[in-house]
Point group: C2
Chain length 582, copies 2
């Protein structure tokens, strides 16, 4: 830094592709600070170092930063300075600080430049990556092979998708676009990879113009089959590092760049006019075609079978002292083993959250050998898990009774279930956004002064990332309209720190409901097939309509899954799906 | 226009103060086109003329524009060009068109300039008002006297309010502001006027700096008492037309201007740095103090008494042939006469909507001698009305059974009532916006494929405008948070064209509900006191909770109003408030 005359360097949690999970090669913030949470920004000056993260990670960060010299900065806590404010204080006016423009989105760097200017005219350099010099054992960029995602699951060829993308670009008066979101590229080209934990994507860029499409990728990742396939689909190939040159040589009038997706360095290397808009691929990808929907149904059937086998197995321990032979990690492993037996199983879709008792109240808890605890024959186990099958991705949360419950546990469980069911029952005009319907999941708990601070739902990819946008169901304003064919989760929860957590989640499909003089109306259909624990339900708190929904859902779960189960499992399922409330 | 080398002139529906209702002096669009709806824009070129308005006014505009040469342009209908598109087509590239910058907001003119530039580089002049030359019998700007709004109703002196406004400005790093919204000025200064139909405001501007405050007003409007009062409160006075000069002479570092409020001409006359932000006064005004809330309760009691006297009188006609002696206009007059008997009554707060049968389905219907129809002993009468009392403003809608109803009328009425009650029952965290809770009013009707395209609720002023922002309950995104002390209406409806309309509206107060580890929660309390017609209710469609709310509300209405009623009226009210569903 001294050699470069820099006062500070900023290490973000992002990579050149702005993904949620990132390859180890780009985990520079973890390398420099030791903190391994999914969200956090480290800043190093000549004399000080600090790390900003949010409330999910306060405890973990405190632990991991011990002895590193990094000061923990708690985001959204009164008195915590912003990064620019802190740099202003530490480095003084006129200082120059740096980020690596390759691993920060164009929009985030532009915002940072403006904010630093306000702190005494601090300037920002964006062409410097200190990690290249100091990170000796840096993991390489993955060189894993790419595989073709068969048309029998994708339902639309890459060529057809590129034609549709070009149409969408023309509507935005754009001649081409640069795609850098790895799941968008995988979806567009009907290719999948193994470069990122839980996400079947591969590191690359895709440049689409009005007449050509070029995949920038390390060629060792391509088998002859894939190379031939890309040729057939009309997609050229160039080296990963040539993307900058590709942008320089791009010769059309303008190019669409999504400033939240494309990194700053590539954004600035463009010489043509930039159309700054959300990538049209994001929305296209979220609306599933008939083949993808059939794949989801198949994947959900298998996932339901695995879940029921697991729950039936677990039921042998419930209320018994023997349950202490099980731990959070061991039940996760057992569940994964049932999933792995299913056809087309590839991987889990995210790190399982298995939180027993007070651990269930830690929203993003992931059991480690250090935190893992034995189960006890009482209280609630929160289990949020999912799988990647070749025909679809799953995401399900169940909160499971392990023995006697407190009145508070029963009441909170019932409030969360009421919220879940109200979303399942919701009908809404086409074009409504997730923000408009979010309250249905919360109204019952709000009346009791309870709430949860995460979103209520997110899209789910087709053998792709388990989090897929831009539509969401949440309190904050998300304008993306809900459209028939989208998947979205329904996952309200309540977390009482030090006590327990409850969440109940199904993945839903948006389908047409009815058309009247007031327009088209949509509804939800549960794709997830798995009983919801009835033990904790306080019947008097449920409306007739809510009970009816639960009974009908359970009937469907039983009818669909029971042909695929053993006699013993079927007996357990029959009981689990028996009607509530007579 | 030819002399000025102009190709077109645009006449908006707005005035220099961007109010919803405007003095006759500024009804230039009505003068030029003959169309008198509240929303519409006329454009005149050398060879053509057209008027844009929305679906509320298609029928009325069609009628009023007959023979004027103005072509009706239906907003939000496929194929309707925007104003810039139409001008581009009619006038061709490079043309110059004009608006009067004084009667258009800064933001609307900026948008117009950008849009016209896209249509072949058309330019806009903003310093020309053709009405000054062609409108011979133009009504003058009102010269009505201003009166002091007593502290016993306002609850806070003008001086104290100005101190608070300066604090709010400092938080936005602004040294001063120009206020041109007439209700904001009236609220700030605790003055009221009679310049605008239904709105007790007076034409003026208020310029606040860090050390002074100046009211720009035609001095004939001020009595010696008001002049003395303004001096005491630290407010100087200058002539209305001197506001431009006042802005030129304003000598602080910067000034806050709300670009949606301040007109373009004044905006452009500012020489200091402009802080472009929403006026802080808008939000301050909507949060009522204890005195104002007490005033609302008093006004609502009187309004409830007037409504019950009216409904009790009307009940003598219901189901009888004699009802045909009554018309939409005559029932409105009768209702107004009951209100006028109440202490501190000043005026109606908006033009009554009394729509019988199919007229009830016309959302902004106002009966005129030409449209007025006699009532019949069947169907529904939609009655939306309100009053200005010195201690508060009211706004209430009831849909009243006049005789036998169809099954469809009963079902729709019940769905609207369910929506109304769900808002009444809603609890929500402090900071939630109206967009988040809107669905509660609509979910029951959405399940039946019904909807309404207006908002669910708006703020109500304190002896001020019946529509008060920025908070609203509606489908579109309105970020303004709901705060304890705000008033807001709850008015879902359903309108079946050619058949009937239903709306049920109370004015609510936001109050604290409870505080937990999840923060502060708020609730609604109905300020409006008037029975809701039970006759059309389909009991099986109501939940126990909805029935309980209605019964408790009716009990409160009966207990509060009955001491103020005659024996006959009390008997009617007892029946109207009797519990439903046993």
């Amino acid at each position: 830094m001294r050699r470069e005359h820099l006062s500070a360097f900023i290490f973000p949690s992002t990579d050149p592709h702005q993904g949620e999970y990132i390859p180890d090669h780009w985990k520079g913030r973890e390398f420099i600070s030791g903190f391994n949470g999914s969200a956090g920004t480290a800043v190093v000056t000549m004399n000080a170092a600090a790390l900003w993260t949010d409330s999910r990670y306060f405890l973990a960060a405190e632990e991991q930063l011990k002895g590193t010299g990094f000061k923990l900065m708690k985001l959204k806590v009164d008195g915590t300075p912003t990064i620019p404010q802190w740099i202003g204080r530490e480095c003084g006016p006129g200082a120059e600080v740096a980020v690596d423009g390759m691993v920060n989105s164009a929009s985030s760097v532009k915002e940072l430049i403006a904010d630093l200017r306000k702190e005494g005219g601090i300037t920002l350099r964006t062409n410097f990556d200190p990690l290249a010099q100091i990170w000796y054992k840096r993991p390489p960029i993955p060189e894993n092979k790419v595989e073709i995602y068969p048309l029998e699951y994708a339902g639309e060829t890459a060529h057809e998708k590129i034609v549709r993308i070009r149409q969408a670009l023309r509507q935005k008066h754009a001649d081409g676009m640069l795609m850098s979101a790895l799941d968008d590229i995988a979806w567009t080209l009907n290719l999948r990879g193994t470069d990122v934990h839980c996400n079947p994507v591969f590191v690359s860029y895709l440049l689409i113009s009005s007449r050509s499409a070029t995949l920038y990728i390390n060629k060792v990742k391509l088998t002859p089959d894939v190379e031939a396939y890309l040729k057939t689909e009309g997609v050229g190939v160039d080296a990963y590092d040539n993307v900058k040159k590709g942008l320089k040589d791009y010769f059309e009038y303008n190019i669409l760049l999504d400033p939240d997706e494309v990194n700053y360095t590539l954004y600035k290397s463009v010489t043509r006019e930039i159309v700054e808009e959300e990538s049209p691929v994001k929305r296209m990808k979220t609306v599933k075609n008939e083949t993808e929907i059939a794949g989801f149904r198949s994947a959900m059937l298998k996932d339901g079978i695995a879940m029921v086998k697991f729950l039936s197995w677990l039921s042998g321990y419930i209320g018994k002292q023997e349950i202490s032979q099980l731990t959070e990690i061991s039940v996760d492993e057992k569940l994964t083993s049932f999933r792995a037996e299913q056809p087309l199983y590839r991987d889990i879709s995210f790190d399982t959250i298995a939180g027993y008792g007070a651990h269930g109240a830690i929203v993003h808890y992931e059991a480690t050998p250090e935190t893992d605890i034995p189960l006890q024959p009482k209280g609630l186990l929160l289990l949020d898990s999912g799988a990647q099958y070749l025909d679809g991705t799953t995401d399900i949360t169940r909160t499971i009774t392990l023995g006697p419950l407190t009145e508070e546990e029963k009441k909170v469980y019932t409030l969360v279930l009421k919220g879940h069911i109200q979303i399942e029952l919701c009908k809404f005009p086409s074009g409504a956004s997730g923000t408009q319907i979010d309250i249905l999941a919360r109204q019952a708990m709000w009346r009791e002064g309870l709430n949860y601070l995460h979103g209520t739902g997110h899209g789910v990819g087709t053998y792709l990332n388990v989090h897929e946008g831009p539509h969401q169901i949440r309190m904050e304003w998300k304008p993306a309209p809900l459209v028939a064919g989208m998947t979205v989760t329904d996952e309200p929860g309540v977390y009482l720190a030090g006590k327990f957590g409850v969440r109940t989640e199904n993945t839903l499909l948006i389908t047409p409901y009815k058309e009247t003089e007031f327009g088209k109306f949509l509804q939800f259909e549960s794709l997830t097939l798995c009983p919801i624990d009835k033990t904790p339900i306080v019947l008097e708190m449920m409306t007739r309509e809510e009970i009816d929904w639960l009974n009908a859902y359970h009937q469907r779960v039983f009818d669909t899954l029971s042909p695929h189960l053993s006699e013993e499992e079927t007996a357990w399922l029959r009981e689990a799906c028996a009607p509530l409330g007579g």
